[in-house]
Amino acid sequence: MIRPALAIARVKLVLELRRREVLFAMLLFIAATIVIVHFALSGAGAGGERAAAGMLWAAVVFTAVLGLLRTFAAESEDGALDALLLAPIDRAAIWFGAALAQLGFLIVVEVIAVPVWWLLFFQHGGPRILPLVGALVLADVGIALVGTLAAALALGARTRDVLLPVLVLPLLIPLVLAGVTATYGAFGEESDVLRPLGFLALYDLVFAALAWGTSEHLLGD
């Protein structure tokens, strides 16, 4: 289960990141995103920290949706998904591999984005690092799990239940809200950063379990 999933995740990441320019492109992308959001909101004169937190999470969601739309793109292109379905591995491994790749992608993006964000908004001070990183990682895990699940559902359910992924995707909103809350907490504004972090962890667990249970039915006819 783990080894094939890793093999699949590796291939998918190689496909995404093969060219080193991609990392550079992400940096540019994040910078452009932050500039746009900044300009859009600059008149609002909102509290710097909260606005900054919102901006970070909006960028994370946008990047995630962008990544998720492509999750199984390489596999549908030339029927490569058939080869994965035929291989002597669990179907869960295919979904899990895709989720890992998605997680890796998100983490790579954030490793670039968060320092840029930090530099732009907090020349002195800034949030506590540990809770922030914790919130991001936990949220990334959740996004990757749920998002890949939705993508897998969309793939298998070609004919009919287009609605299913649409039901799954809104589940990302609570995740993001918890992320924003945790980020506020990391500024020391709110007292307990632990509650949102706990929520994120719980969320991840619940959906990991759900995905696991249903993964046999996710892909294929």
């Binding site: 496909l15 390489a74 292109e77 030339d78 994965l84 002597p88 006819d221």
Partner: protein, 210 residues
Amino acid sequence: MDAPAVSLSACSKRFGDRLALRKATLTVAPGETIVLLGPNGAGKSTLLRLVAGLLRPTAGSAQIGNAEACSAPRSLRAGLAYAGHRAQLYRGLTARENLGLHARLHRLTDLDIDAALDGVGLADRADERIDGFSRGMLQRLALARAIAHAPGLLLLDEPASGLDAAGRLLLDGVLMDGLGQRTQLIASHDHELPARLGVRTVHLAGGRLA
């Protein structure tokens, strides 16, 4: 006696309003080779995909070994190979990387990728991304992949399409070598193929086995 390698019983497949396969019943003994003939849209590809477990029958059953094909255990899938109309390869990877992934998924620790590529005449193109490959080169790579893990059950859907004369000879060689060694099910429009191989044919038309 052995269990049949492949057995369809009253197997039907419906896509929306269309019955692509109607109550097909077919038994293939282990080691037997069968050529599947029939006009366009007859249901050949559908039949092969049912046997491969990529489709689930609407009614009836499609079995390989003793298991339902679409939920066959991993051990059975390890001995199965299917090459269809699409190349089933990652366009963004090189030929070597594609076979490498296949080897890792099939736990073939000792697969000689260079030899496999050489066998289909692609030795000098091993490290090129396959999105620059020509139609026939892709078909050759798909063939190499299908036989890389020495399957006991080989399902090929028009394997000769896009191949040049040399490639078709090579393919005939592969099929000949497999005679009696493994179960082979080949969909084809080449009406001389059964005679060349000296094997049984099965005719399909309008989703019905004749």
